[in-house]
C-alpha cells in the first residue's frame, strides 16, 4: 500500500526522512493520521484511518472531512467551527462521537493541527484520530461496575441497618416486662419474647415457640376477672386474627401448680396491603403482684371489719382465717395459748375442705413441739418469715417419717407466723402458709401479716376489756341486788314492828301492852337496827376490800375460842332446822391472827354449812400440825357443790348455781379466801354432789403462835 500524499514541498526535510515518515504513517494502524487541505477536504489517508473510519483511500480523498461528523454536529456547523478554531489557535483537541462509513458511531479522540509553510501561510491541517470505543467501553463497564458496587454496598448497608433495627426491636421486645407474641393467620406463633414465655410457664421464648397452641393453653385454666371461664377464641390474640383489636383482664391458673397469674392482655391485627390480616400481635402486661397487693389490702380491710364487727374474738379470728384463704395464703390457721401453755388450734382454713380436715388430723396426731415456730413467735413476740420451706426444714420439724411424708406431699412452699399479743402477753399466733399457689412470701407480705396480727390482737384486747367491763357491771348489779335483798329483810322486820306500834298507838291499843311487852318490842327494834348497821358495815368492808389490800390487826388469838363463840350463835338456827353443830378440837389453838377477821371466816363457813345442811349434822374440827399450821374444817351433809362450781363460788358475788333462792350476798367465801390468804394460809374445798361439802382452812400460826398437843377432844 502507498501513502497517498500531496507534495507539501518541505525543502528542509530530506527525502530519506520523508520516506521514513511515510513508512511510519503507513504502518500505524492504531491512529488515523491524515491531512486536510486548507478547505477541509481530505488530502491523504493511512491504514489506521481506513481501519478506524472504514473508507478506502480512493473513496474518501478529496471528500470534505465533515463526512466523519454526526448528522447533528454537521447541522450545527461543527466541522467548519473546528477548522476556524484551528486557523485561529493552531490546534483543537476533543473526545467526541464520530461516524464510520457504515454509519456506526464511535467514540474518538481527535487532534487537529494547522500546517503552515515557511512564510507562515496556512497550507492545510493534520488530523489524528484515535478510536476510543474500547477504552470508552472499558470505562463504561468500569463505571457500571463501580455503580453496581456502590449500589451493592448501599444495599448491604441498608440490609445491615435493617438487621440492626430488627435486632434492636427484638432486643427491646425481649427486654420489656410486657409479654409480646405474634401469630400468623393460621394461628402459628412466629414471635414471642421471654416475658411472654415466662407468663406461659416456659423457660424462654424458644421453648414457647416450639410448643403447640394446645400445649400452651392446656397448661392453664383461663378465666375472666370475675372467675368465669374464658373461651380461647375470645382471647384478644384470637380476636385480632379476626381483624378486631381488643383488650381485657385475663386470669391464668397454672393447672400443675395452682399458681394464679393476672394479666392485662391486648391484641391488635396487622393488615397487609390488601386489607387482609397478616399478623396478630398480643401484648400481655402481668399485674399479679399488684393484684396481690390489692387483694392483700382488701383482705386487710375485710379482716379489720370482721374484727371490729363482734366482741366474740374467737368467732372473728375464725372469720379472719377464712378471709385469708386464698387471697394471701393457701393455708391459714390461728392457735390460742391454753392456760397450761400449750397451743390449741382455734381454726384452720384451706380452699379444699378435705385438706382442712387433714390439717385438723395433723394437729391431733402431731401437736407442735416446744421448738416449733408458733411457740418461738409466742415466746419472743416477734413475727417470723420463712420465704422458702426447704426439705431440710421439713425433715427437722417432722421427726415422724409418716408426718414427713404427709408434709412433703403438701408441697409447703413459704410461711409466716405472727404473734397475737394483749399488751406484753402473748395470746396465740396466726400462721399463713403457701403451697399450691407456689407463692413465696417476702418482707412486704410479713408487714401485712404483722398488721393483721396487730389488729387481731387489738380486737382481742377490746373484747377482753369489754368482757371485763361487762363482768364488772354484772358484779355491781349483783352486788346491788344482793345488798338490797340483804338489807330489806331486817329492814322489813323493823318496819313491820314500828308500823304495827304506830297503828296500835293510833288506834289507842298501845296502852293495852304491858310495859314488859312494849320493852321487848322496842328492844327488838333496837337489835334490828344494830343488825342493819352491821350489814351496812359489812357491805362497806367488802366494797373497800374489793379495791385495796386487806389490813390485818394481828394479836394473840385462840381459834378454838373464836369457833366456839360462832357456833353458839348458830346453835339455835341449826336446831330449828333439825340439825346440830359438833366441834372437835384438842384444846386451844393459838396464833398471831386478826381475831375479828377470823371470826368472819368461821362465821361464814359455819353460817353456810347451816344454810345448806338442810337440817343435817355439821362437823367442825380444829387440829394443829407439827409444821406450825392449824387446820380448821367445816363439814356439812348438804347437797354438795358440783365440781364445775367449786372454784367459782370463791368469786365475788358468786354462789352455788342451785342456791339462787338462798339468802346471802355471795360475798362470804370471797371474803373468807381473802382473809385466809392475807394470813398466809389457804382454803380448799372438797365436795361431791349429794355428799355434802368440806371446807378446810390451813393457817400458819405466826411468830407469837402456840401449838397444842394434837389430841382429839370432843367439845
Amino acid at each position: 500500500m502507498t501513502v497517498a500524499r500531496n507534495n507539501i514541498g518541505n525543502r528542509e526535510v530530506d527525502d530519506e526522512a520523508v520516506d521514513l515518515l511515510d513508512l511510519l504513517i503507513e504502518q500505524i494502524v492504531d491512529y488515523a493520521i491524515f491531512v486536510l487541505d486548507k478547505d477541509g477536504n481530505i488530502a491523504s489517508w493511512n491504514p489506521g484511518a481506513e481501519r478506524i473510519k472504514g473508507y478506502a483511500a480512493h473513496e474518501i480523498i478529496g471528500q470534505p472531512y465533515a463526512a466523519f461528523f454526526t448528522e447533528e454536529d454537521r447541522k450545527a456547523g461543527k466541522p467548519d467551527a473546528i477548522l476556524a478554531h484551528v486557523r485561529a489557535h493552531g490546534r483543537f483537541q476533543e473526545e467526541g462521537l464520530r461516524v464510520r462509513k457504515d454509519g456506526q458511531r464511535f467514540w474518538a479522540s481527535v487532534v487537529v493541527t494547522a500546517l503552515h509553510d515557511r512564510r507562515g501561510e496556512l497550507r492545510g491541517f493534520a488530523k489524528i484520530t484515535r478510536d476510543l470505543t474500547e477504552r470508552r467501553q472499558a470505562e463504561e463497564s468500569a463505571r457500571l461496575a463501580a455503580a453496581e458496587q456502590a449500589a451493592r454496598r448501599q444495599a448491604e448497608l441498608d440490609e445491615g441497618e435493617m438487621r440492626r433495627s430488627r435486632d434492636q426491636l427484638g432486643l427491646i421486645l425481649r427486654g420489656i416486662t410486657e409479654g409480646v407474641t405474634v401469630l400468623t393467620p393460621g394461628g402459628r406463633m412466629i414471635f414471642a419474647n421471654d416475658a411472654a414465655a415466662r407468663m406461659c410457664g416456659f423457660d424462654d421464648a424458644e421453648a414457647l415457640l416450639a410448643a403447640t397452641p394446645q400445649q400452651v393453653l392446656g397448661r392453664f385454666e383461663v378465666s375472666r376477672e370475675d372467675g368465669s371461664p374464658f373461651p380461647p377464641e375470645e382471647l384478644p390474640g384470637r380476636r385480632a386474627l379476626q381483624g378486631v383489636a381488643s383488650s381485657t383482664v385475663v386470669r391464668f391458673r397454672e393447672k400443675a401448680t395452682g399458681e394464679e397469674r393476672w394479666s392485662f392482655v391486648s391484641g391488635a391485627p396487622v393488615f397487609d396491603s390488601h386489607g387482609k390480616v397478616d399478623l396478630a400481635v398480643s401484648v400481655f402486661r402481668e399485674f399479679t403482684e399488684r393484684r396481690r397487693t390489692e387483694q392483700a389490702w382488701q383482705f386487710l380491710a375485710e379482716a379489720s371489719a370482721a374484727l371490729a364487727s363482734s366482741l366474740d374474738y374467737q368467732a372473728t379470728l375464725k372469720q379472719v382465717v377464712d378471709l385469708a384463704v386464698p387471697r394471701i395464703a393457701d393455708w391459714c390457721g390461728v392457735d390460742i395459748l391454753s392456760p397450761d401453755g400449750s397451743l390449741a388450734q382455734l381454726a384452720v382454713a384451706h380452699f379444699d375442705p378435705s385438706k382442712r380436715e387433714l390439717a385438723r388430723e395433723w394437729r391431733r396426731r402431731w401437736p407442735p413441739q416446744p421448738e416449733a415456730l408458733p411457740y418461738q413467735v409466742i415466746r419472743t413476740g416477734q413475727a417470723a418469715l420463712i420465704s422458702e420451706i426447704t426439705d431440710a426444714m421439713i425433715e427437722a420439724g417432722a421427726p415422724d417419717p409418716e408426718q414427713r411424708r404427709v408434709a412433703m406431699q403438701l408441697g409447703l412452699r413459704s410461711a409466716m407466723v405472727v404473734p397475737l399479743m394483749a399488751g406484753k402477753e402473748a395470746l396465740g399466733a396466726l400462721t399463713f402458709v403457701t403451697a399450691e399457689s407456689g407463692r413465696r412470701y417476702g418482707a412486704e407480705d410479713l408487714i401485712l401479716a404483722t398488721e393483721i396480727g396487730r389488729r387481731a390482737s387489738l380486737a382481742i384486747e377490746n373484747a377482753r376489756a369489754y368482757t371485763e367491763a361487762r363482768e364488772a357491771v354484772r358484779t355491781r348489779d349483783n352486788f346491788l341486788a344482793i345488798a338490797s335483798h340483804e338489807l330489806r329483810t331486817p329492814l322489813s322486820a323493823l318496819t313491820v314492828l314500828v308500823s304495827s306500834l304506830v297503828r296500835a298507838a293510833a288506834q289507842g291499843r298501845l296502852l293495852k301492852l304491858t310495859p314488859e311487852a312494849l320493852t321487848e318490842r322496842l328492844g327488838k327494834a333496837e337489835r334490828q337496827m344494830t343488825q342493819l348497821g352491821r350489814l351496812i358495815d359489812r357491805l362497806l368492808d367488802v366494797s373497800r376490800l374489793s379495791s385495796r389490800d386487806l389490813h390485818l390487826e394481828r394479836e394473840r388469838a385462840d381459834l378454838v375460842e373464836i369457833t366456839r363463840d360462832v357456833i353458839s350463835r348458830y346453835d339455835d338456827v341449826a336446831a330449828e332446822a333439825g340439825g346440830s353443830i359438833e366441834l372437835t378440837c384438842a384444846g386451844p389453838s393459838v396464833g398471831s391472827w386478826d381475831r375479828s377477821r377470823l371470826d368472819q371466816v368461821v362465821t361464814n363457813l359455819v353460817g353456810n354449812a347451816v344454810k345448806y345442811a338442810g337440817g343435817g349434822p355439821i362437823q367442825v374440827s380444829i387440829s394443829s400440825g407439827s409444821s406450825g399450821h392449824v387446820r380448821l374444817t367445816v363439814r356439812d351433809q348438804g347437797p354438795g357443790i358440783p365440781i364445775a362450781d367449786q372454784e367459782r363460788i370463791f368469786g365475788q358475788f358468786e354462789r352455788a348455781a342451785d342456791s339462787e333462792n338462798m339468802p346471802g350476798m355471795g360475798l362470804g367465801l370471797w371474803l373468807v379466801r381473802r382473809i385466809v390468804t392475807a394470813h398466809g394460809g389457804a382454803i380448799t374445798l372438797s365436795s361431791n354432789p349429794g355428799q355434802g361439802a368440806t371446807f378446810s382452812v390451813l393457817l400458819p400460826v405466826g411468830d407469837r403462835g402456840a401449838t397444842t398437843p394434837d389430841e382429839g377432844v370432843r367439845s
Partner: protein, 129 residues
C-alpha cells in the same frame, strides 16, 4: 311452832326464813287481833298443813332454804284440798320473779303493817277479835 289450837281455828300462816321478821310479823298480826303461825321454810309449812290446819291466808316469802316459796306454791297447787288457800307473796325479789308465783297479791319488802292488815282483812273476815 305447831300450835294445836291454831290448826283448827282460823289463822294466818307466815312462811318466812328470817326469824326476826317472822316473829315480828306474827306478833304484829296478833296485836291486830289475828291468830298467826310461823314456819321457817316451805317444808315446815307443808308439815303444818299436813296436820289438817287450814289457814285463811298464807303470807309467803320466796327466797328460803330447804324449800323455797316457788316450790312450796307448786306443792300447794298439787293438792286440791290446799290449792284454794289464798297466798300473798312477800318478797324483796324483782317483780318478774315474784309474779311467777300464783298469788292473790304481792307485798314488797320492807313491809308496812297497814298494807298487810288490809290484805288480811280481805281474806280473814272472821279473824279480827
Amino acid at each position: 311452832m305447831t300450835d294445836d289450837a291454831a290448826t283448827s281455828a282460823e289463822h294466818i300462816l307466815v312462811v318466812e326464813d328470817d326469824r326476826e321478821l317472822r316473829e315480828t310479823l306474827c306478833e304484829a298480826l296478833e296485836m291486830e287481833g289475828y291468830a298467826a303461825i310461823g314456819a321457817e321454810n316451805g317444808r315446815v309449812a307443808l308439815r303444818h298443813l299436813a296436820t289438817g290446819a287450814r289457814p285463811c291466808l298464807i303470807l309467803l316469802d320466796l327466797m328460803m332454804p330447804v324449800m323455797d316459796g316457788w316450790a312450796f306454791r307448786q306443792e300447794l297447787l298439787k293438792d286440791p284440798s290446799l290449792a284454794a288457800i289464798p297466798v300473798v307473796v312477800m318478797t324483796a325479789a324483782p317483780a318478774a320473779r315474784a309474779a311467777a308465783v300464783a298469788s292473790e297479791a304481792i307485798l314488797y319488802k320492807p313491809l308496812h303493817m297497814g298494807a298487810v292488815v288490809d290484805l288480811v282483812q280481805e281474806h280473814c273476815p272472821d279473824g279480827a277479835a
